[in-house]
Amino acid sequence: MTVSVANDMSIFSLVAGASLPVQLVLVVLIITSLFSWWYIFIKLATIKRAEANAEDFENAFWAGGDLNKLFEGLTAGRRKPQGMASIFEAGFKEYIRHKQQPRMEVSDVMEGARRAMRAAYNRELDDLDAHLPFLASVGSVSPYIGLFGTVWGIMNAFRGLSNVAQATLSQVAPGIAEALVATAIGLFAAIPAVIAYNRFASSVDRLSVRYESFMEEFTNILQRKS
């Protein structure tokens, strides 16, 4: 007796055969995964660029040139300065502005420059932190979404089994396989998101420490100048 259990187990037929909630879960997970990878690549590029910019600016700053020249070079460029350069620009601009006004106390000038730098620093940090909460959410939630799809699919598979007198593995196997696709995609979305989140969080921390120490050093330099 030949029994052909030739269930077409391709991934497409598995997904097409899944119940609606499972399909919805799959769609949500795939979109989430696409976005999280998109953000991962964006962050990879922007953080790399921020680190390179910080490196370049520190080299230029500590080269010992004239600060006015450095400032003019930054503002002359069409592009808005970013990262450490924008902090320097904000602080130096505020310092010059206060210096031009007569009868200003040194402490007031320094305080104004410091506030301007702090504001620029916060803006930069906000840009650096962008999308990280999304990656953290994807990393922690998408396994659960996948698990939900799997549980739902397996519930369906076993409910169908209850109508049959002779339960065979080939009756449940497709249902469980299609349900497990949801977990697989959930994990595929979650694992890179968690890794990327941890890596980017530490990169952002290191950059922010670098920015802060630059702010302190630049404040000292301005104080000496005034």
């Binding site: 030949t2 187990m9 690549f41 999308h131 002779q166």
Partner: protein
């Protein structure tokens, strides 16, 4: 969604993200053999029995260790009771020819007398020789059968087999076949009666439709697979009513003799719900 300063890398990043997903899809398709082309499976059907066919095996075992000395007194006292049940077991001859014939009964009485003699002989032998335990076992069987008269059909057949052995080899085959045929008919009608009781006759109209179903049974009396309609009554509702009745009648009655099951594995049933 994205910051202004991120726009210049967004297209690149989007392309990479899609590439990663395509790579995953490709890995899924390549690394798994999704088209699990099940090689044509050779299914060997195996029947599992929870007890051995109890024609010969169980019978000798219980009496021999337990009652080696008891049979000596008991059969002596129970010679008369033994004679009474005998006719009933012997009526197993009736299913052979379907109708009990009085002539046969006379013959049977003669046989009974012969049996009596035999048993007396056997008793003597038992007293004398332990080697003839086999004979005593048969008597034990007879005693057991007295007690279990309700399970007539099965026991009758076993009794028939046992006695026939003692009588002649030629009779064994014919008697067995005839008894089997009788049992077969009996259970076939039992199955039909059970199913008939579950049919909703109201669905079959006023006429006298006839349906035929092929069913396949498992040794437990449950259906393996779905009953196959081979002749429709003409009305779908009636067909379905009978099919439901078949499903509801599980487990169907089957003879407890395992060797007869092969006759019931595939049954063709005929129904006239309005008869």
């Amino acid at each position: 969604m994205i910051r202004a300063y991120e726009k210049e890398v967004s297209w690149q990043a989007g392309g990479l993200a899609i590439a990663v997903h395509l790579a995953l899809l490709g890995a899924l398709l390549i690394s798994f053999n999704w088209k699990a082309a099940h090689p044509v499976m050779n299914v060997t059907e195996v029947e599992l029995w929870d007890s051995l066919p109890n024609v010969q095996a169980p019978m000798p075992i219980p009496p021999s260790p337990l009652i080696e000395e008891q049979p000596k007194p008991e059969p002596v006292v129970k010679e008369e009771p033994k004679v009474e049940p005998k006719p009933e077991p012997m009526t197993k001859e009736e299913p052979k020819i379907d109708i009990a014939l009085e002539k046969k009964q006379k013959e049977l009485e003669q046989k009974k007398i012969a049996d009596k003699l035999k048993k007396e002989l056997a008793l003597e032998q038992k007293k004398q020789l332990a080697a003839l335990q086999a004979e005593s076992l048969k008597d034990e069987k007879a005693n057991n059968d007295k007690l279990l008269k309700e399970e007539a059909v099965k026991k009758i057949q076993q009794e028939a087999l046992a006695d026939d052995k003692a009588q002649s080899d030629q009779q064994i085959l014919s008697a067995k076949a005839a008894a089997n045929a009788g049992v077969l008919d009996e259970f076939r009608s039992k199955i039909q009666a059970k199913i008939r009781g579950n049919v909703n006759k109201a669905l079959c109209g006023n006429g006298n439709p006839e349906l035929k179903f092929d069913i396949a049974l498992m040794p437990t009396g449950e259906l393996s697979g779905v009953p196959k309609l081979t002749k429709s009554s003409g009305t779908v509702a009636c067909d379905e009513a009978v099919e439901r009745a078949i499903m509801a009648s599980q487990p169907l009655p089957l003879p407890s003799d395992a060797s007869l099951f092969s006759q019931f594995r595939n049954l063709k049933l005929r129904f006239r719900p309005n008869d």
